[in-house]
Symmetry: none
DNA sequence: TCCTAAGCGAGACGGTACGTCTTGTCTTCCA
DNA sequence: TGGAAGACAAGACGTACCGTCTCGCTTAGGA
């Protein structure tokens, strides 16, 4: 197969992904039409459908690329599992800082304007990160590992959302402290739990 | 205003709410068209738009009714705030049992098939319940109350989702124990946290 | 039967006829909806349909009344047939003057804005007038009487239309002269017809 | 512009014009809905609106085409103005014969079932024909030329209508004689006019 | 150097759903 | 008990997208 074609095709796909991103920031995912996207990308209608089955496919494929990039980036870093023993949920601080820097994107992706697909994809990515940090076996063996993973991911997203919506002025470090406080120690310290 | 009109109008609205519920169970919210709903409800197109601005309005109005019913039901019960000191998150067990009984509905509402609006409405209802159970002041004063509320609601929905998706065989009591374990005590007991 | 009801009914009908006339002047017949009419007449929907089968029926019924009034008015006048021998098409001058005085109404009724029904009703009324003026038997017996009637009515309406559309400045007497010239003597005097 | 599109578009437009004609014969113009037309033409709703703004536009555009065809056909014929001196209103006989052959179409177009638009378009076409036959200057200079044109057109349509409605058995030649009799010589020969 | 096969833009097309509008019916209220 | 009020089912309107399709144009690789 001539590789020139590959190159052209790749350029087209990139243009479409870029257009999607731009437009999602501007109007949100649900409000976009395929027509908007191909106008923004300056691409023919049939070309769009030659590459993707619809705007959802385009969105998913974008996250697919992102996931692969992240995987490569991570495989370069030595196993952090050991470090995580002393410093659990090590990913969180970096993520909050990243989110602060790219607040517009995060807001779009997470605040409903990204649609259900986006949120799901983000959960998958976060779940992957959390899974790698979590010790392979949990003490007591009462909690399934993937349940714990979902719990952490959910708490993280809740925190991010609350931050953006209600207290955008807080520093990443402050938000991180709150996140870690709740996730690691739960509510008991806050309500003077009398159990036992 | 003649009350006959009220009665007819109420019947029409009820038929539409019922149709929406039926169809959401069958095909999910996003896939529904207004045409589907009015066909199911056997109602004229213009009648639909005389009552609601669209399917989202219909959905919201349904939750509005639900919320009012719940409020009335709750106002009958004596304040549970006192009891919640000994037994925090008292709502959870009853909710898990309720969810088990009406699994189909919960699955539809929560598992993405209900759409973003539904999830948001459910969060509002749950947040209201949690807010009533949570002590008015939290110890240490480090966590904003509404953040804690969002954390609990998120954890509850995560638990529900995980239950339905991954381990539908578990008993409500088992799921409740897991939910309470994580939310009240956090991860520390599971990972042998060495901090401090 | 209580005649009070008759009176109410008559008032309702009059209100509807009046509303129709008002609105036809304002927007033209075709553009009117039943809703417009009952709003203008301040009458309930079912009331309208209790009296008329639709807006066409209302229109026709209005002309029906008009026709009866005209018939009464004419029956008072002694037979003009004799006079018409010396002065054929005697009706025309009076009609043109009337049209000039009520130009708005005529324009509405005749210039297309009145709809096909209106034009037809007007033709019926005019045909009746023409029929009365025309001698009972035509010389030569080559032309059916009703054909001649239609010819005259058509020429009259053509004249009226042309007057309003193209030369609204002309006096009724000038227009009448043109009408009579063409209808009575035809084209021959104008084109120097060489036949025979 | 690629001419393939022209070809496809032309086919679509032809199908719609054909469907309109068919349905007008069957139910009349006013009773038609756009839905009827696109069903008959087997064309998508949006396609219809891509070509025409509504059924009136479609109708007008059909007459536009017809007018262009007639113009081309006429431009082939040598100027008939000269001939018309000896034989005025030369168009009439051919038109009556044509009408007899395509009675259904004429009946639909003229008898009210064609709607106001149709009648107006037909008047325009006939006016054009009459204008070409009429000598450039009229004797006496008392009648505006376009008034005379309207008079002739009106008389022709009156004749056609009367023929179809009241005496469909007459031959084209008989009808033509009546038409020419009235239009050229007027009423005077029929009523023994005593003027002067 | 020409040929050919692919990627591509342009956009016509049949469909489906939208939210609005109008019609004629039907049920209840009120005088 | 009959007229008025207006909720309603039905369905057409014109608009917006969808996903499919056909068509020429470009462009680079192999002949």
């Amino acid at each position: 197969m001539p590789r020139e074609i590959d190159r052209r095709a790749a350029r087209t796909r990139r243009a479409l992904h870029q257009a999607l991103l731009t437009l999602m920031l501007r109007k949100g995912y649900e409000a976009l039409s395929v027509q908007d996207i191909i106008d923004e990308a300056d691409v023919g209608r049939s070309t769009f459908y030659a590459h993707f089955t619809g705007k959802e496919d385009l969105l998913r494929s974008g996250f697919q690329l992102l996931r692969e990039e992240l995987k490569e980036a991570h495989s370069a870093v030595p196993a952090t599992a050991a470090a995580s023993h002393d410093h659990p949920l090590g990913f969180s601080m970096a993520m909050f800082e990243h989110a602060a820097r790219y607040a517009d994107h995060y807001r779009t992706m997470i605040g409903g304007r990204g649609g259900a697909v986006t949120e799901n994809e983000i959960r998958l990515i976060l779940a992957e990160m959390v899974r790698q940090e979590l010790p392979p076996t949990l003490e007591g063996d009462t909690m399934p590992r993937d349940f714990v993973v979902q719990f952490i991911v959910g708490a993280f997203l809740t925190t991010l959302n609350w931050w953006f919506e209600r207290k955008p002025g807080l520093l990443p470090s402050e938000v991180d402290a709150m996140f870690r406080g709740l996730v690691l120690d739960g509510l008991s310290p806050l309500i003077g739990d009398q159990r036992r």
